[in-house]
Point group: C2
Chain length 285, copies 2
């Protein structure tokens, strides 16, 4: 009898690609170094959620509370793979919440620091929250993962680097995949099952990646081109259960050259574990 | 024939109570003084939207662009009526967007500065945005203002100071007023027609007030007590047309001692002029 193939190894939280590529080295209190990975780029841009997770990790080290409860990032200049430094400031420490600020800098050709992103965040400890749930929101209507499609299934190869797609296990709702077949629905929606390619389960920091890891809703609206994030705010409301996440993104206010993307992240226990909104610029020309 | 009563005078933008009470005095570049008004308090707390508007006004002076496009505030300690200083920092200036940071401090009994609020914001010029509108969101279903009710109509007097209600012309949707009659609907919704009592039309800065000026959705859910804001992020998307605003607030994720309030502000031209989300703490005990 042939031997069964061994079950694929799932990376433990702390030991996956996400952990390796968001790890920061504390140089001194409030100063962290990192080499931004080229593995989380999409169409030549370093993914904004990956960058937010990097800053989130630095703040988790700097602040006395471990989990981002609410974190806002303003994206100032485009980050590149390569060396970066993060400088954090503790704004206030309280019993249940602490607030901090963090900036990520890279270096110009004269080695001067150029600020890429500034973040303001309040952290707490998700493990100490009471377990009451009066959520009235309901999980997104998305077909089972086997009926959804990943980038490898798509007939439309993504131009430029799609390194990030190798880090993720994304299965998009066919109802939000019209753009990949040249027939966008016209609706500002994007939904997918989300996981990390190495099987690492989600944690509060990887939720910061998850809210910004899907194709832009602009594609389904029928727009092409880059939709750069101006600002992104994430609320992390509960530690995610092990297993795949469902991410549902909606745009309802495309106007004046800007749009918002509202993301909800649901875990395998049907908890609404994160909510986010970003303001992004649309290139109409 | 009796003379018609003269039409009530509407304060011009720049000359209303809101302008007077959010005016800041530049002491030197990046430093602004203000005496926080006692006129915008609700139940002994200075209203968070009023405070955000104060900071927004300081940043509008400090930055080269006039209008907050996206502004996030973390509320650290409770502000009081009285002297305050705002310190701003220009983070980046660009051609169409600039980013700034601002902190509001008050003074302890030894005259030391205590930080109350920190803000991170990106500003632009709403007047330069193209007029294309592909908004798919629709205005809230709210009865005409004559069928809605203001605080003066309510049988339930608001305990503690209700000074802010004298500054506003609020007419609440009766469908979200059950709490005032001892019969909350159980739904996390609050809707109202919103204006300033002196008739001053809305402008981008007063939208920062409007998103936080309604009673808490928690009241309609059946919770009592204070629902302090931890963080509030507002997107201002269009200069509001003259006339009354409609504000619709929704809570869908009350869990673990926190809730979110999503606000939409619609102007008289049926434009979705502002969207916000706040994270607030719920006192369940």
């Amino acid at each position: 009898m042939p031997e069964a193939a061994p079950a694929p190894t799932r990376a433990a939280i702390g030991a996956g690609e996400f952990d390796r590529d968001t790890a920061v080295t504390r140089r001194e209190p409030g100063v962290y170094d990192i080499d931004l990975s080229a593995g989380w780029t999409i169409i030549n841009a370093v993914n904004g959620g990956y960058l937010l997770a990097v800053l989130g990790r630095a703040l988790a080290d700097a602040l006395p509370h471990p989990d981002p409860f609410t974190i806002s990032a303003h994206y100032l200049t485009a980050s590149q793979p390569g060396p970066a430094v993060i400088r954090t400031e503790t704004v206030r420490t309280g019993r249940t919440l602490s607030t901090g600020q963090a900036s990520l800098f890279q270096y110009d050709d004269q080695d001067r620091e150029v600020e890429r992103i500034r973040v303001l965040a309040s952290y707490g400890d998700l493990a100490t929250l009471p377990e009451d749930v009066r959520t009235t929101a309901t999980p997104p209507a998305i077909p089972p993962a086997e009926q959804c499609f990943g980038p490898d299934d798509s007939p439309a190869p993504i131009p430029g680097s799609s390194a990030i797609t190798d880090r993720l296990k994304l299965k998009l709702d066919p109802a939000t995949l019209g753009w990949a077949l040249g027939a966008p629905s016209g609706k500002g929606e994007m939904r997918a099952w989300f996981g990390l390619a190495d099987g690492r389960d989600a944690d509060p920091l990887s939720l910061l990646l998850a809210v910004d890891a899907l194709p832009p809703t602009a594609f389904e609206i029928g727009l092409k081109g880059w939709v750069p994030t101006v600002e992104l705010t994430v609320h992390v409301r509960h530690r995610p259960a092990p297993g795949p996440l469902r991410v549902s993104i909606t745009t309802r206010n495309l106007a004046g050259g800007f749009l918002e993307e509202d993301a909800e992240v649901w875990d395998s226990a049907d908890r609404l574990v994160a909510q986010s909104r970003q303001l992004a610029r649309v290139r109409l020309g």
